[in-house]
């Protein structure tokens, strides 16, 4: 059986690479943590991989807008390779800082398959501060996004100071109409937060937590699925375990909804490339 190769970027202040690599491994892929400069120098070739993950962190300290310099560096040095990667139908996921980089690269939202135009911005939280908080997300079941197949509501943590998704109203409308809005901040029942803090932790327009390109193969989200790879990551796990125990059951030790997201991507590659 061929292996799905996932490349997780490292270096320059990025920091969620270890757990993102772990999540891909649990999802059945082979993970490779690769320094941005190793891609640029050609020591590692992007074409050898099926999935590219731009993970969380503070690239270049986020000093001039989150993900801005990372995007510029990638565009300047491997911009063409990235577009080829997209053309080949391979997958790109950007989480938190990586999502910020994807919108600054223009890979998202990729309207009209223009993968260079910056039309969405992810800016400072309305609350005015960095925030670590678990959120409920409602997944758009109509979305073409390959990563969220069969998902309805999920819980992941957000950990950012700049997570408010903004764009011109017509862009937002286009994203909604094209089901490119993949995740929305919601209440426990999956009803969108309608901007209410802290359910919507950053003031994102239309409660947008994640978007994909029209093909569903490029996906960016502010919450961290890679932070939920073990049942004990969820803030309510001790309570859930206790309640289940009284019913003679135990907490499901199988795949968390965090790993599921990565597995959807890995399975898509298997279907598209290995069959």
């Amino acid at each position: 059986m061929k292996k799905v190769n996932a490349l997780i970027l490292t270096g320059f202040g990025l920091n969620c690479d270890t757990e993102t690599a772990h999540a891909f491994e649990l999802a059945g892929a082979t993970s490779h943590r690769v320094h941005i400069n190793a891609l640029i120098s050609g020591k590692v070739a992007l074409e050898d991989f099926h999935i590219l993950a731009l993970g969380g962190g503070f690239s270049w300290g986020d000093d001039h807008g989150a993900g801005v310099i990372e995007a510029l560096k990638l565009k300047n040095h491997i911009g063409r390779a990235l577009l080829t990667f997209v053309d080949q139908g391979k997958l790109i996921i950007g989480i938190c800082n990586g999502f910020q980089a994807l919108v600054n690269l223009g890979l998202l939202p990729g309207l009209d398959r223009d993968y260079t135009r910056r039309s969405v911005s992810i800016t400072f939280n309305d609350c005015g501060n960095f925030r670590d908080q678990w959120v409920h997300l409602a997944a758009n079941t109509q979305s073409p996004c390959v990563f969220t197949k069969n998902m309805e509501t999920v819980d992941y943590p957000i950990r950012h100071g700049e997570g408010k998704v903004i764009a011109d109203p017509q862009i937002i409308d286009t994203l909604l109409a094209g089901n490119q809005v993949v995740f929305q901040y919601a209440d426990a029942a999956g009803v969108p937060a309608k901007g209410a803090f802290p359910l919507n932790p950053n003031g994102s327009l239309e409660d947008i937590a994640g978007i994909c390109d029209p093909t569903g193969k490029i996906f960016g989200l502010m919450p961290h699925p890679e932070a939920y790879t073990h049942v004990t990551n969820h803030p309510d796990w001790t309570r859930r375990a206790q309640v289940l125990k009284r019913a003679g059951k135990s907490l499901d030790q199988e795949m968390t909804i965090g790993v599921k997201l990565f597995k959807n991507g890995v399975d898509h590659i298997k279907d598209a490339f290995f069959k």
Partner: protein, 1002 residues
């Protein structure tokens, strides 16, 4: 050419930074701003042409969706404009990354004289604003004169074409580097030089230093290098090495301890050896999980068969009191270098904080360098940026308020790392330097940072004088360095590594060269931030983000290639030798040549007089407070008190789950807003094992007796670990002492002898507690001068001392994290137990403090009895009998039952009459039972069907069922000794009180 790019958010977008300014201006100073906008300014001094400037403006500095920008001042309307920029030499992190971005984008290199500087201006609108208000905001909210400068413009003063007229904040030192030879003809002369040069040499060290340099053999040896009398760099080296910071002279000093009540006198020869080293080494020999203690940058314990964990903690008090943000970020980023420099280097996997500050609403006459409110804001933000940008989760932290900390606030930072136990078949906790290995400095460059600490603050500034004494940590540079060094470690390229912190190269090379027994250092090779530093400045500069590494010559190429790939600067600056000499050269000239064993040449110990008077002798008594008639408002009042109420807003700003190993979070309960007893983290993602971590701070008890402060603090830290599922057989300790000055002076420090006695007693308690609970001290630090001299209304200076404080941190390894327990009651119908006896121990309690009383009955810890209970409780948790568990701490049962009610989101019915009680220390009434802070207690809930088994485990111990969890109501209902209703508070009332004080902070 100098160009300025101004960047702002588009007018229609919310400016969160400006909103925060408006809010703080109103709540801190009552100044009303109607609207505000913030403009970021990038000042570029370079040869970029107009086209290039446009390109970097548009491509790097402007987001087309959200921002507008211009190479001329943006035309944003205001009544007043405040410009704030850094002083020269202050670390400008965004300036540095801007330079990196431009280099990459344009393929341009920056030459000498070129640079990028960032600053901000704030456009304020408000009809009622006057210059005085605006200057107040500029100086007391938006800038700190130590590191920043500001300008205020009225509408009329503003020139739309030149704007804020920002000049590059660059350092220009018109100085040719040199070293000086110092005459030491007499002790008095050397003492005078020590004063002039801020060497802070101890008078008793001076004859030893002179004797060394006047020794004929030494003179003859030095003559071969062209030296005679000592050079300034040599004296600086000795001064650094002999400082209390590096040498821990206080803890190694001689204490003459007299008990004034009995007249008994005891001489303590070294608190460190007697109370820390001896018990820890004994425990190390008994416990095979203890891997490495007492010599390296951090202690090492075993995590599992293949992995070890590393722990250390320190304080960064003085700098944080001058510049809270800079001090705190430098503190957290600095302590993170310790695990990186332990053994062959570990990977950081968690950190924690402890803040002790004055009353944040203080409005009295004293003027601390920073108001406690502002100080806390800055400290929180510094640790936020430092921790979050390091990619290390901050999983635990406490904030404590007491007026004594207005004299000096305390900022504790703790760091834990993880490393494979073997690297290339060799134990990773061992390291050494060998002759022939190269000395490499990696990371940041060297400037005048941190030289001689705060003494520089009294010097006057010129436009280009570096503000070197307060630093700003750079987590970005350090993160790149850590990524790089971990790869070097795994490739076996590092035989020795240590960090550059206090004392800079002087400490890191001075100490590491003792192992190989010599070194030669080429100071002219050290990369500098700017030219013009003297040799001694390069040698002792505390510029941050640097590690010193030994590299074998055959590995140098590979090491340098990896360094280049990670864009980390690494430079060979010397070589380890076995000549027995510390040999420092600058180009071809020798500027220091001393024996490596110079520091063993009989330097005298420090000496202290310590006089103890018991609390009774000092006149402390229990206050006379009759039993309250109405407990409901009293408990709500306690929940509103700053030390009890929610500090959720602080923890939320810290990424507490990056790296993916979070098991028990710092905030727990149905609403995720109640502080957890401890945190649990899985540092190895493929393992079910977890690392439990807790900290305690109970300095209030020092007001009665620091002995009991210490015992209670350790007991609480241990209970917190047990409460989440910790293993009593594996508890690692970390002691961080912060003590006011103990050196007696009849005028300046009249109570020094008492404070010295308190220190001795705390150390005795430390040993006693560690021996009975079997806690090796994996690491520890001390900060000895936590006093301030604050100016009052009439120009008088008042000494304000912090409480004698110890932050005790504890670690434990949990075999299977799926058995961990959180504090929230989970199922209605569960039974509530209290383990441990409640006694009349309200001395220095939160309850007494709420009436401005201290009292006498400080809690005593019965270690022998407690450990039986803790072991039993551990078994019940391991056997999954416990649904929730919580250690009772500050505020007593009333407060902690309130926390549990809030955490569970369900009602509790509790009967005080069923509590395990101990009447030996006095009468027990409902108020005593509710508010006593007796140690050794837990609140536990269990399923009713586990009653029999649970009670079997705790048979014969102080453990009673005191009530139940209920869904019939959502109140905390407490019934008294006569089973009468004494307290009935709804969830809403409890929640409101708990969040009242800080609930609107974000």
């Amino acid at each position: 050419m100098i160009s300025c790019i101004e960047i702002a958010l588009k007018q229609e977008l919310k400016d969160a930074e400006a909103s925060s300014l408006i809010k703080k201006a109103r709540s801190y100073f009552g100044i009303k701003i109607q609207s505000a906008r913030c403009i970021h300014i990038v000042t570029i001094e370079s040869d970029l042409d107009g086209h290039q400037l446009e390109k970097v403006k548009d491509d790097i500095f402007t987001n087309p969706v959200s921002q507008v920008s211009s190479l001329t001042p943006l035309d944003i309307d205001f009544h007043w404009c405040i410009w704030v920029g850094f002083r020269p030499g202050v670390k400008d992190n965004p300036g540095a990354t801007a330079m990196e971005a431009i280099k990459d984008h344009l393929g341009k290199s920056f030459g000498p004289g070129e640079g990028i500087y960032t600053s901000k201006r704030y456009c304020l609108k408000g009809d009622t604003l006057v210059r005085g208000d605006v200057e107040k905001l500029a100086s007391e909210l938006l800038s700190n004169s130590i590191i920043q400068q500001f300008k205020v413009f009225s509408q009329g003063e503003w020139d739309k074409t030149i704007g804020a007229d920002v000049k590059p904040a660059k350092v220009v030192l018109d100085h040719t580097p040199c070293f000086e030879v110092v005459s030491i003809d007499s002790d008095a002369q050397l003492a005078e030089i020590s004063d002039q040069r801020n060497l802070a040499l101890n008078p008793r060290d001076i004859p030893v230093i002179r004797a060394y340099f006047l020794d004929p053999t030494v003179l003859a040896s030095r003559k071969t290098m062209g030296l005679s009398q000592p050079t300034d760099i040599e004296l600086e080296y000795i001064s650094q090495a002999r400082s209390d910071h590096c040498n821990h002279n206080t803890f190694r000093g001689i204490f003459r301890y007299t008990d004034a009540d009995t007249g008994q006198e005891i001489v303590e020869n070294s608190l460190f050896k007697t109370y820390i080293q001896e018990p820890t080494l004994k425990l190390k020999s008994e416990k095979d999980w203890v891997v490495s203690v007492l010599w390296d940058n951090a202690g090492v314990g075993r995590f599992d068969g293949d992995t070890n964990y590393v722990v250390t903690g320190e304080t960064h008090n003085s700098p944080s009191n001058m510049e809270a943000y800079g001090g705190a970020i430098t503190g957290i980023v600095g302590v993170y270098r310790d695990p990186m420099g332990t053994g062959l280097g570990s990977k950081l996997f968690m950190g924690s904080f402890g803040y002790c500050v004055g009353d944040i609403n203080y409005n009295g006459p004293l003027r601390p360098p920073l108001h406690p409110r502002r100080l806390l804001d800055g400290v929180i933000e510094g640790v936020k940026d430092g921790g979050n940008k390091s990619g290390v989760p901050t999983t635990f932290g406490q904030t404590l308020f007491h007026p004594g900390y207005m004299g000096k606030s305390l900022v504790f930072v703790t760091a834990l790392g993880i490393m494979p136990s073997q690297v290339k078949g060799r134990p990773s906790h061992e390291k050494k330097t060998s002759p022939g290995e190269l000395i490499v400095m990696s990371g940041g460059r060297v400037g005048k940072d941190g030289i001689h600490g705060v003494t520089a603050s009294s010097e006057s500034y010129s436009e280009h004088t570096p503000a070197g004494h307060v630093q700003i940590g750079d987590p970005y540079t350090q993160k790149k360095m850590q990524d790089f060094l971990l790869i070097c470690r795994d490739e076996g390229l590092i035989p020795f590594i240590t960090d550059n912190g206090g004392g800079g190269l002087s400490s890191s090379i001075g100490e590491s060269a003792m192992i190989s027994n010599g070194c030669v250092v080429w100071l002219d090779k050290v990369p500098l931030k700017y030219e013009g530093l003297d040799m001694w400045e390069i040698w002792i500069s505390e510029s941050q983000e640097r590690m010193t590494i030994a590299v074998k010559p055959e590995h140098l190429d590979r090491f340098m290639a990896l360094s280049a790939e990670h864009e980390v600067e690494s430079t060979v600056i010397g070589e380890y030798t076995d000549t027995g000499k510390l040999h420092i050269k600058y180009k071809e000239e020798t500027c220091a040549y001393v024996d490596m064993d110079l520091l063993d040449k009989g330097f005298p110990s420090w000496e202290f007089d310590a006089i103890w008077r018991s609390p009774e002798t000092r006149g402390l008594t229990e206050p006379v407070i009759g039993s309250p008639a109405n407990f409901n408002p009293l408990v709500l009042k306690l929940l509103e008190r700053p030390n009890i109420s929610s500090k959720e807003w602080i923890m939320r700003q810290y990424d507490h789950e990056v790296q993916g190993g979070s098991v028990i979070k710092p905030l727990v309960g149905v609403k995720h807003n109640i502080p957890s007893d401890a945190s649990v983290t899985r540092p190895v993602l493929t393992s079910q094992k977890g690392l439990a971590f807790s900290q305690s701070l109970l300095p209030w008890y020092s007001q009665i007796d620091a002995f009991h402060m210490m015992t209670c603090t350790i007991d609480e830290a241990v209970r917190r670990l047990i409460a989440v599922g910790g293993n009593f057989n594996h508890i690692g300790g970390l002691d961080n002492f912060c003590w006011p000055n103990i050196g007696f002076d009849p005028k300046k420090n009249p109570d020094g002898k008492f404070k010295a006695a308190q220190l001795v007693r705390a150390c005795r308690a430390l040993k006693y507690a560690c021996e009975t609970y079997e806690i090796p001290l994996l690491s520890g630090k001390d900060s000895m001068y936590v006093d301030g001299h604050l100016e009052g209304d009439c120009g008088e200076r008042m000494k304000v001392s912090a409480l004698e404080t110890v932050q005790f941190s504890a670690t434990s390894v949990i075999e299977d994290v799926s058995k961990c327990v959180s504090m929230d009651p989970k199922v209605a119908g569960d039974l509530v137990y209290v383990l441990g006896t409640t006694a009349n121990e309200l001395g220095a309690s939160e309850y007494y403090e709420s009436f401005h009383k201290i009292g006498l009955n400080v809690p005593h810890v019965d270690f022998e009895k407690n450990k039986v209970v803790y072991r039993a409780l551990q078994r019940t948790i391991e056997n999954e009998l416990v649904a929730s568990c919580h250690a009772v701490a500050r505020g007593g049962l009333a407060v902690h039952l309130s926390y549990m009610t809030l955490a569970g989101g369900m009602g509790l019915d509790i009967h005080l009459s069923d509590l395990p009680m101990d009447r030996r220390r006095g009468e027990l009434l409902n108020d005593t039972l509710l508010f006593s802070e007796s140690a050794g207690r837990f609140i536990v809930t269990i399923a009713p069907e586990n009653k029999g088994v649970f009670e079997k485990w705790v048979k014969g111990m102080a453990a009673n069922c005191v009530g139940s969890v209920t869904q019939d109501h959502d109140h905390l209902k407490i019934f008294g000794l006569d089973r009468e209703a004494v307290l009935d508070l709804s969830m809403t009332e409890l929640d409101h009180a708990f969040n009242k004080t800080f609930g609107d902070m974000i």
